[in-house]
C-alpha cells in the first residue's frame, strides 16, 4: 500500500457510480468525510448516514491494525491526559440514552474540538487534499483525529470507501432483495436517495444519455431470469460500463 497522500486512486466502478448519478466525485468524497464521526466510533451508532460512514472507517482501522507494528514514532503526538479526559466524557455521553442520537452528536462536538486541540502535530492527515487541479476536499476535525490516532493516511480510508461502491452491485442487491448490504455501498445509496443534499450536476441530454435512461429502466425485467447474485452483478457491471463509456465518449 502506498502510504502517502499523493495520487488518490479513483476506481473505475466508483467513477461509473458517480457519473451515472450526476454526482461530482469530490462531492461524494466530501459527504463521506462529513459523515465520519469520532463520537460514533465509540459506540454502536444507528444514526443514518453517520453510522455507515463511520462503520466503514472503523472497519478499515481495525482490519489494518493486525499487520501493523506500532513503533514509538507512530504514536500520535497527543497530550494524553487531555485526550483521555475528553474520550471518557464522550463515552459517558454516548450512554445518555435519554437524549436522541442527533442531540448527543451535537453535544459531542465541543469535546471533539477539545480533543482536536490536544493533538500537537499532524503526521497523517493534512487540512485538505487535492484530487486533481480543480477539486479539493477538506478534512473535518473528526476525520483528522481518527487518522492520527490510527496512524492511517486519509488516502487509505478514502480508497477503502471508494472500493466498496459499485452501482452494479447496488442494483443487483436491490433487485434480488439480497438482505445484506455493505456499509460503504449503503452509504452511497443513501446519498442517491437524498442524504446530505448532494448537488446533481446539470448534464447535457445526449443520445447516449437518453439511451442509458431508457435501457436502465428495463434492466431488471430483462434479467429477471438470472437469480444468482454474482451473475447478476457481472451482467449489470458490463451494462453500466458500456453506457459509461458511451456517455463519456460523447463529451470528448
Amino acid at each position: 500500500m502506498n502510504n502517502n497522500n499523493h495520487f488518490l486512486e479513483i476506481p473505475l466502478e466508483f467513477r461509473i457510480a458517480c457519473l451515472l448519478n450526476n454526482f461530482k466525485i469530490q462531492d461524494v468524497l466530501q459527504a463521506y468525510i462529513n459523515h465520519v464521526s469520532f463520537f460514533c466510533t465509540l459506540y454502536n451508532s444507528k444514526l443514518s448516514g453517520f453510522s455507515e460512514a463511520t462503520y466503514i472507517t472503523s472497519e478499515y482501522s481495525v482490519g489494518n491494525k493486525d499487520n501493523q507494528q506500532q513503533t514509538d514514532e507512530d504514536k500520535p503526538a497527543i497530550n494524553r491526559m487531555v485526550a483521555v479526559k475528553y474520550i471518557r466524557q464522550m463515552v459517558a455521553l454516548s450512554l445518555k440514552t435519554q437524549f436522541t442520537e442527533t442531540i448527543r452528536l451535537k453535544q459531542s462536538k465541543k469535546m471533539v474540538n477539545k480533543l482536536f486541540s490536544a493533538i500537537e502535530s499532524f503526521k497523517y492527515c493534512p487540512e485538505k487534499l487535492y484530487i486533481d487541479e480543480e477539486s479539493i476536499i477538506v478534512f473535518t476535525k473528526d476525520f483528522r483525529i481518527i487518522c492520527e490516532i490510527h496512524n492511517i493516511y486519509p488516502k487509505a480510508y478514502l480508497e477503502h470507501f471508494m472500493n466498496k461502491v459499485s452501482w452494479a452491485e447496488a442494483h443487483a442487491r436491490v433487485d434480488l432483495d439480497a438482505d445484506t448490504m455493505d456499509s460503504g455501498l449503503l452509504f452511497f445509496i443513501k446519498l442517491t436517495n437524498g442524504l446530505g443534499n448532494l448537488k446533481r450536476q446539470e448534464i447535457e441530454i445526449t443520445d447516449a444519455v437518453l439511451e442509458y435512461i431508457d435501457e436502465a429502466e428495463q434492466l431488471r425485467a430483462k434479467h429477471y431470469l438470472v437469480r444468482n447474485l454474482e451473475q447478476r452483478i457481472a451482467i449489470y457491471r458490463e451494462f453500466f460500463l458500456e453506457h459509461y463509456n458511451r456517455i463519456i465518449n460523447q463529451y470528448t
Partner: protein, 125 residues
Amino acid sequence: MEMTIKLEIAEDFNLACEIFNITPEAFLQTIVSKISLPYFYSHPNTKKQWATMLFLEYVMLIEKDDEDETNIHGMYLDKMYSVLNNILSEHNDEEKAESCARKVFKEWHRATINKRAEYLIKKIF
C-alpha cells in the same frame, strides 16, 4: 384459447378509445397477444417489447412470499436461464432458443399447478 373476462373500463381509457375509434377489445387483444416470456428472453436484442415488460413489472410488483412457489419459480428461472444461455451463446439461434425456452416454460407451469393441487388436497383431507 378463449376466455370471457369482466373489466372495469376507466373513463379516460374509454374516451381515448372513442376519440381514436379503437375498440377496447382490439387494443387489449394486441397487448395480450404480444406477451411471451419465452420470446422475450430468447430475443434479447429485440427492442420495445413493452407488453412483456409491463407484465414482468407487474409480476415483480406483486411478488408473493409463498415459499413453496418461490422455490419452484427459482428452480425454473434457473433452468430457463441455463438453457437459453447455452443456445444463445453457443449457437446464437434465437428460434431454437425460443422453442426450448417454451418447453421449460410449460414444465414450469405444470409444476406450479401440481404444487397448488397438492396444497388443496392436503387442506381437504
